[in-house]
Symmetry: C2
Subunit: 193 residues, 2 copies
DNA sequence: GGCATCATGTAACATGTTACATGATTTT
DNA sequence: AAAATCATGTAACATGTTACATGATGCC
């Protein structure tokens, strides 16, 4: 067997198909309601990848066109399930971020105190919006199911809560500087830890 | 003025140059010791971007070749500093993640209990390694300086600590299932929140 | 009739990584 | 003398987004 290497996005597809047969459109909808905040995927990735996976024999497409509306339902093959399992057990769990908010805060030395406070408030609001989105998703899920998707949602909610709290603490320190008489040496950002 | 839009990676460069003049090589070293965990950058981005920024008049390169070793030191222009400031105050603070560990956990329904526990342990260990790296960086920084880079480091340390703790809690729940007699309905992953 | 949703897909663009090429200087 | 670090850069590749094109079906 030739074991061609698959992208992580390919495993997202295999993973969703491991639950039930689906179309590319449905995979995208599911991604947007679950993995999106830690692993996004667009049609431009999903459709070509589904075809590659079909050619490699990891998924199997069946024509389920209804009337004149095209519909291809994909299902995981045994080979596909084995590939998924082997990836799940493989020792790799990278975590990359592109955090524009923290990037701005990192360069906040270019700002005066009030501007820095405004920046922290802006970042906090952005995360509050992200958190609200996850909570909406959580509210729309059936409360009974026993699935790791609840765990993932909990992970994301906790993560955003942490960031929101961190922003508030940083802002509080900056605001305390004003009251204390503004000696800029006194700010020990990591002291609490 | 023509206000060409810049990538976030361009702002990383402007940001570092706002502290002191630097070469591309030095920018890369600084990135690796600070923003890397939330905003990475490679030579393949930095060198071409520096040239574009110079052409746009946001930075200025000076030849500081020493003997036969080439060296171009870049400095921020007034226009560059204004562009940086305006970006810092602009209302955008996206946060994207590519979290392979959580992705695997999300699909852990394909695993049996012991395998899921092994996966959680693996992810935890990966984050412990990331955390150790940040702590090493923290230990090598002068403890006096008043800079937001300490805040960013604190953000990252707290974030990884949260994830590590989350992994432990999830694992504990799975392990409790065994002791309790393995009724898989009883696992309410979000109940504690 | 009109709007939302279902459903397929592509092409251009943007972004980012890896490996390679080249060589000087400094430290051990 | 060897190894580490300083310093420049490119080319091929991988990955991912956005906008566009096309049209059917179902619901109000």
């Amino acid at each position: 067997m030739s074991e061609i290497p698959l992208s992580n996005t390919a495993y997202v597809i295999l993973g969703f198909l491991s639950k039930q047969p689906m179309t590319g459109y449905e995979i995208k909808s599911h991604v947007d309601k679950s993995t999106r905040f830690f692993w996004a995927a667009s049609y431009g990735q999903i459709y070509p990848e589904l075809r590659r996976l079909a050619e490699a024999g990891l998924v199997e497409g069946t024509d389920k066109s209804h009337g004149k509306r095209a519909r291809i339902e994909y299902d995981l093959t045994d080979t596909g399930r084995r590939a998924l399992h082997s990836w799940l057990m493989a020792p790799s769990a990278g975590c990359e971020m592109r955090d524009e908010g923290l990037l701005k805060i990192f360069f906040a030395h270019e700002l005066d105190r009030d501007e820095a406070i405004a920046l922290l408030t802006m970042v906090e609001r952005a995360r509050l919006a992200d958190l609200a989105e996850l909570q909406t998703i959580g509210a729309s899920m059936p409360p009974d199911a026993d699935d790791f998707k609840y765990a993932a949602l909990d992970y994301g909610i906790g993560l955003y809560e942490y960031v929101i709290d961190w922003c508030r603490r940083q802002r509080a320190e900056l605001e305390a500087d004003e009251t204390a008489g503004k000696q800029s040496q006194g700010r020990s950002l990591t002291a609490a830890r």
